[in-house]
């Protein structure tokens, strides 16, 4: 079985833990991080769109290089936490679309809900929702933190109470 784990800032620990706990030892695990291309673009060529401004970016490490280095460190940390052999993959682009593309030949995709920590539609952030809606394989949807309240918190319409 080939499992793809979406390593995303803020929720990666839970995804790694759940992968380690639930996947059989012979599963091929790939840890995927997607750097946000829109943020890189806003930070690296910010004046490209602004009328009349031509200034080159100030000296320093290029945003893309810095972003790639941080992604590699995050993936290394995730693999160390996983404590088993795993491939790592660092891509950049629009995360939700890149993840779906990368899941094309996976059997299982592990991702976090990335939303409010309570039961309901808000618990699935827009990126996670896109991936869940479009995933071409099976999905393991992880709560990055324990939800604030249990099933009692689910709203019932008046006539169904």
């Amino acid at each position: 079985m080939r499992a793809l784990v979406w390593i995303s800032e803020g929720s990666w620990e839970a995804c790694v833990d759940r992968t380690r706990e639930t996947l059989a030892s012979d599963a091929e695990v790939t840890l995927l991080h997607v750097a946000a291309a829109d943020a890189e673009r806003l930070a690296s060529e910010p004046l490209a769109e602004r009328l009349g401004r031509h200034r080159p970016p100030p000296p320093g490490p290029a945003v893309r290089e810095l972003s790639e280095a941080e992604a590699q460190e995050l993936l290394a940390a995730a693999r160390a936490r996983l404590r088993r052999a795993a491939r790592t993959l660092s891509l950049h682009g629009r995360a939700e679309r890149v993840v779906v593309q990368a899941a094309a030949d996976a059997d299982l995709l592990v991702l976090a809900r990335e939303g409010h920590p309570r039961l309901g539609p808000g618990s699935l952030g827009p990126r996670a929702r896109f991936v869940v809606d479009h995933a071409p394989c099976e999905v393991l949807l992880v709560w990055p933190a324990r939800p604030e309240a249990g099933v009692d918190s689910i709203h019932w319409p008046r006539h169904m109470r």
Binding site: S8, E9, G10, S11, W12, E13, A14, D17, R20, E21, T22, A24, S25, A36, D38, A39, E40, L42, A43, S44, P46, L47, E49, L51, G52, R53, H54, R55, P56, P57, P58, P61, V63, L66, S67, E70, E73, A76, A77, A80, R81, R83, R84, A85, G93, R94, E114, G115, H116, G122, G125, P126, R127, A128, V142, W143, P144, A145, R146, P147
Partner: protein, 495 residues
């Protein structure tokens, strides 16, 4: 005839600035267009001279501010601010966003939007990445605040400088009238952005809590709060001291592994979920030492000299009308002090920081707009703009200005509208500024024309979610326009 020629010249300038052809740099096109209009008689030499002498001090002021901001960069102000934001965030994305809001709003106010966009945004990106939080909310916040937090001081935005020169009010009065609209605009941005990015701003997961429904002990005081330490050896074990070891449920696929035939099970060892796999020797690969400090490696104390110069310059601005000295001289003195103390590596670096091409473009565009204005553009705008100091009239001025800024970009929009409103009360000028400063957030690239052009070029650009930009713009700009203008109306009545 003259009117048509000058409008064509204006359109050519804008087209060159938006399309950026290699063979026709926008500054040269603007300068040539201005010269051509004078040569053709669309604008008399006297009119052109008047436009240039009116714009000259403003452009000089802008150059001084750009050099001042670049001096701050050389002094390490922005790197130090990055470290400050990282420390202040305590590893929590929402706190980091609050720090970014504070720093970006103040940087924009004091050192102008160019400083926020060019100098601060890359630092914010690096800071967020190092803290292992999604950089998107923070970078989007910089991008939005560069526009909407540029209301408060005449030096915050070139549009403000142009209006400030025309409105004839003091620096201190400008600031006192625009302080409330500025705060309101920042508040609206906070409400919208912190909601829009709520998912990515969630507190980094605590694995102890993440054991949904299994582990009762959600919070362990012994667990380090710093999320960067969560994976350090010794801090990452799934079973914590004092936490009862759960019985292995047979439904867990991984739980069958310890009893796999042929694999010796060590007697006496407690079975821990998640620990079935032998710990691989690759663990030390984790660069534990690298991430221990929260701040970037070059973090340091805030550079006192540079911040002192900025503070004194600001005080000079505030006292300029009392002292009878034009604010531009304080900016020039501050820029000179920082240049002497933190020398640029070359003269080219110093000149480049002042963006000479941009300054020429502004001057050329100013002359072209003066020609178009003399030939009826101002009258047209005049007919559209509401008059008077009522709330409705001010909102109308802001809305028309924002619409114009989104059609042709905010710099030409300011040059066009300021001629029409300069004679009226300062309220109209400031309402116009709310429109041209906040308005560009609607299309993120500054105007519809730019957006359409970029859209054609990058039709297959998968990287940027244009709809997300536009959604954020639609969510913030109209509310900010109305709320900030209402705040301005209130400030005008109170003071």
């Amino acid at each position: 005839m003259n009117e048509a020629i000058s409008l064509v010249a204006l359109a050519v300038c804008l087209a060159a600035a938006i399309a950026r052809p290699r063979w026709a740099p926008d500054w040269a096109v603007a300068a040539l267009a201005a010269a051509a209009l004078v040569a053709l008689g669309a604008l008399g030499p006297r009119g052109a001279g008047r436009a240039l002498s009116r714009l000259g001090p403003t452009v000089g002021f802008l150059a001084a501010l750009l050099v001042l901001a670049d001096g701050c960069r050389r002094a390490g102000v922005f790197d130090a601010l990055g470290a400050l934001m990282a420390r202040g965030s305590r590893g929590r994305p929402r706190r980091l966003l609050a720090m970014v809001f504070t720093v970006a709003a103040c940087t924009t106010a004091v050192l102008s939007l160019d400083a926020t966009i060019v100098l601060l945004t890359p630092v914010v990106f690096a800071t967020a990445s190092r803290l292992r939080t999604s950089p998107r909310p923070h970078v989007y916040a910089c991008s939005h605040l560069a526009n909407s937090a540029s209301l408060v001081l005449p030096v915050s935005n070139l549009t403000n400088l142009l209006a400030f020169a025309a409105a004839g009010i003091s620096f201190a009065r400008f600031a006192s009238l625009m302080a409330l609209p500025w705060l309101v605009a920042i508040a609206v941005e906070w409400l919208v952005l912190s909601r829009a990015f709520a998912g990515e701003l969630r507190i980094p997961s605590d694995p102890a809590k993440a054991r949904s429904g299994l582990a009762a002990q959600a919070s362990d005081p012994s667990r380090p709060r710093d999320p960067r330490r969560a994976w350090e050896p010794g801090a990452e074990e799934p079973v914590q001291p004092g936490e009862p070891v759960e019985p292995v449920e047979p439904v867990e696929p991984g739980a069958e592994e310890p009893v796999r035939p042929g694999e010796p099970v060590e007697p006496g060892e407690p079975v821990e979920p998640g620990a079935e796999e032998p710990v691989e020797p690759e663990r030390p690969e984790a660069p534990a030492g690298r991430l221990e400090p929260l701040e970037p490696p070059h973090a340091r104390e805030l550079p006192a000299f540079a911040l002192g110069v900025v503070a004194v310059t600001l005080a000079g601005f505030a006292a300029s009308s009392l002292l009878g000295v034009a604010p531009v001289w304080f900016a020039a003195a501050g820029a000179a002090l920082l240049t002497v103390r933190h020398r640029p590596s070359s003269a080219a670096e110093l000149v480049g920081a002042a963006e000479p091409a941009f300054l020429v473009f502004v001057l050329g565009l100013g002359v072209v707009v003066a020609a178009a204005g003399a030939d009826g553009l101002s009258r047209t705008v005049d007919a559209v703009l509401p008059r008077g100091g009522s709330l409705g009239a001010l909102v109308g001025v802001a809305a028309v200005s924002a619409a114009l800024a989104n059609l042709v970009n905010n710099l030409p929009a300011t040059l066009i509208v300021v001629g029409a409103v300069a004679s009226s009360a300062p309220g109209s000028v400031l309402a116009m500024l709310i429109g041209v400063n906040v308005g560009p957030n609607l299309t993120y690239v500054g105007s519809l024309a730019t957006l359409l052009w970029r859209r054609v070029v990058h039709a297959h650009d998968e990287e940027v979610n244009l709809r997300e930009f536009l959604t954020l713009g639609v969510a913030t700009v109209p509310i900010t326009l109305v709320a900030a203008t209402a705040a301005l109306w209130l400030a005008l009545r109170v003071t």
